[in-house]
Homo-oligomer: 217 residues x 2
């Protein structure tokens, strides 16, 4: 009567590249769904904590490290895996774009970033998991500092706006956006200016509490 | 290397009674932790969805039905259960107080409501699960209509304020509170007045979308 289940973790890793929100997928090298794109993930080891498993699987399968990780939701529909009862604890993770080196390991024969709005067919219920992660991230934008996990330690307000616009998929009014973001009360000026390319020098900011995601009251 | 785990659900059921936020606990009739208070819950059946399991366990162990249910978080520390690897998908649930009839079933020899601020010793990691649920509920108060799941279909603004004060544990200014709640744009007047006891008649309100928890933008 009681289910003896396999437990796995799957990870939705987001970044923003060239003004587009992207998610990391791996192509499965083994059955089931061989050759089909899927989220990085795998089975929890006997003495392994769930978040440790998610971190390990993401690092092993893609070579990515140094990401923000948060539990998303657990998916356990009885028929979600053809191998038998597999309950997966889904996580989502955020990483600033930049020189991300992606490598596929033995469970995956390729790893690549895909725009959230243009995903290939996904294995298992992974499309549902991605949709749930996108929804959570968009919701948290409005009441937390989650988006700053996609930025480097120092950033201009224009860079913040680009991140928000990429995630919401819609443009923001510059003046209102700055008022909203500074109104969070979570940013401080570094005292430095950004001088890149054709733009006018812009003030650089950083999070007052860079190591945590703060809920805005 | 791969964990074959037992999977359970545990449910943190909240209500507000006499201006106090309370959680439903059952006293364990069997080992481990025999005689110790714990959250209602139990093992997932072979072909059972996770939310169905949570709903069934809560109904079976306590006789409660008609509650709002939402997945909270999955707890899977390797040593959290002395019987072996048990990963539990925690849910939280809300129900309006009123004539709740609580009955303990065979797995529990008693069921009772406890104030969140004055809980007995709890079995397993259930104290951590309750703390996580309280934190989630308090956070969602500020940006969603979650609190209305603790109210009857029609309610006065004073009743809403009592719910908020019970959950946050701090008094609210009446005028500011009304402005905030009506500012959500999720309530409508029923056209009726509440006439109970010694109070002046007060307008009755209801949710425009009573069957869902709406995120406030």
């Amino acid at each position: 009567m009681t289910a003896n289940a396999q437990v796995s973790t799957d990870i939705v890793l987001f970044t923003v590249q060239t003004d587009s929100m992207k998610v990391l997928l791996v192509r499965r090298a083994a059955k089931p769904f061989k050759g089909v794109w899927a989220l990085p993930g795998g089975f929890v080891r006997q003495d392994e904590d769930l978040a440790d498993c998610a971190r390990r699987e993401l690092e092993e399968e893609t070579g990515v490290a140094g990401f923000y990780l948060e539990q998303l939701q657990t998916f356990g529909a009885p028929e979600r895996d053809p191998r038998g009862r597999v309950i997966t604890v889904a996580y989502y993770a955020l990483i600033p774009s930049g020189d991300l080196v992606i490598q596929a390991d033995s469970d995956a024969d390729a790893a690549a970033w895909f725009p959230v709005g243009d995903l290939p067919e996904l294995a298992f219920d992974h499309a549902e998991i991605v949709a749930s992660a996108v929804k959570r991230l968009r919701a948290k934008l409005g009441y937390s500092t989650i988006a700053f996990q996609l930025l480097d330690e120092q950033f201009t307000l224009s860079a913040v706006q680009q991140i928000y616009e990429a995630i919401t998929g819609s443009p923001a009014d510059k003046r209102n956006f700055r008022k909203l973001i500074l109104g969070f009360g979570e940013l401080e000026e570094t005292g430095e200016l950004s001088r890149d390319g054709a733009h006018r020098p812009a003030k650089l900011y950083r999070l007052i509490e860079p190591d945590k995601v703060t809920i805005i009251k």
